[in-house]
Symmetry: C2
C-alpha cells in the first residue's frame, strides 16, 4: 500500500464507520421515534434524516460523479428549515432514499481512480485550489463525515432517555 492508498483508506474507512453507526441507530429507531423532535423545539429526526440524505445526494455533482437521485429534497431539507410547512416524504420513503444515495455513492467511491480523490471538487475555484490543494474531493468526504457525526449526536436523543441516576 503506498501513501496515497493509505490516505484514501483512512478517509473512506472513517466515512463507512460513521455511516455504520448512523445506520445502527436508524435500525433501532421506530418510525414514531424518528418523527419526534430531537429535543424540545429542535429539528425532528425525520428532518435530519432528509437533510443528511439531501446533503449526501449533492455529493454526486460536487465530486463530478453524477447528478442527484432526489433533487426535490434540496428545497425541503436544505433551503428550508424544519417545520417550514413544506410537505416531507414519508418515513419509509426517506429511509429508502438514504440507503439508495449511500449505496450508489459507495459504488462510485470504490471505482474512483486514486489520483482523482486529490483533484479539485466543484465548490472550489481553480485559482483557490492552486493555492489550497488540500481542498480536494477526499477532503469533502472528511467534511461530510463530520457533518453526519454532528447530526448523529442529535439523533441519539431520539432514543428513550436513560433512567435518571440517583
Amino acid at each position: 500500500m503506498n501513501n496515497q492508498d493509505v490516505f484514501i483508506k483512512m478517509v473512506l474507512s472513517t466515512w463507512q464507520m460513521q455511516l455504520n453507526r448512523f445506520n445502527q441507530l436508524l435500525d433501532k429507531l421506530t418510525d414514531e421515534q424518528l418523527m419526534m423532535d430531537t429535543a424540545p423545539g429542535r429539528n425532528s429526526g425525520l428532518y435530519l434524516l432528509g437533510h443528511l440524505t439531501a446533503v449526501s445526494d449533492s455529493l454526486f455533482s460536487q465530486l463530478g460523479i453524477g447528478s442527484k437521485l432526489y433533487p426535490e429534497l434540496e428545497n425541503i431539507f436544505i433551503t428550508n428549515p424544519d417545520k417550514s410547512g413544506l410537505e416531507m416524504p414519508g418515513v419509509g420513503e426517506l429511509r429508502q432514499y438514504w440507503k439508495n444515495v449511500n449505496d450508489t455513492l459507495w459504488r462510485h467511491f470504490e471505482q474512483m481512480p486514486p489520483d482523482e480523490w486529490f483533484a479539485r471538487h466543484a465548490l472550489v475555484s481553480e485559482d483557490d485550489f492552486a493555492k489550497e490543494p488540500h481542498r480536494n474531493k477526499l477532503n469533502m468526504i472528511i467534511n461530510r463525515t463530520g457533518h453526519i457525526g454532528y447530526h448523529l449526536g442529535q439523533m441519539v436523543y431520539l432514543q428513550t432517555a436513560p433512567a435518571k441516576t440517583a
Copy 2:
C-alpha cells in the same frame, strides 16, 4: 507541497475548523447555560466539556508526545457518566483546561515530523498495524475530530431555542 503534506494539511485544517466552531459556541454560552442539560435527562454542557477535555488530554500519550495535563479528569468524565455524584471542576476551570489542552496539543502538532503522523499510535498493536497501516496517528486525529463534532451537535442545544415557527 507533496501528497503527504497535503494530506496532513487536510486533516489538521479540519481539526482546527471543528475546534473553531466549538470555541465559537463556547464563547457564546454563559456559564449558566453551560451547566444546563443539553436535552431533558441528557448530558450537561459541563460534563461534555469535561469529557472532550479528558479525551483530548489522552492524545498526548496516545500520540507519544507527552502525558496528561489533567489526569484527574479521566475518572470523572470518561470512566463515569454524567450525574455520577463525583465532584466536577468549576465551569471557569474547565474552560481553562480545555484551552490549555488544545493549545499544548497544537504546539506539538506543529512540530510533528510529517512521517511521524503515519506511524502507529499507542492504541493499535504492531501486528495489527502491519495489516492495517491506516490506523496511524493522523487517523486518530480524524476520529477525534469526529468525536468533537458529535458532541458539538448536542451542545448547540444549550443555546436558546429558536422561536417556534407557525
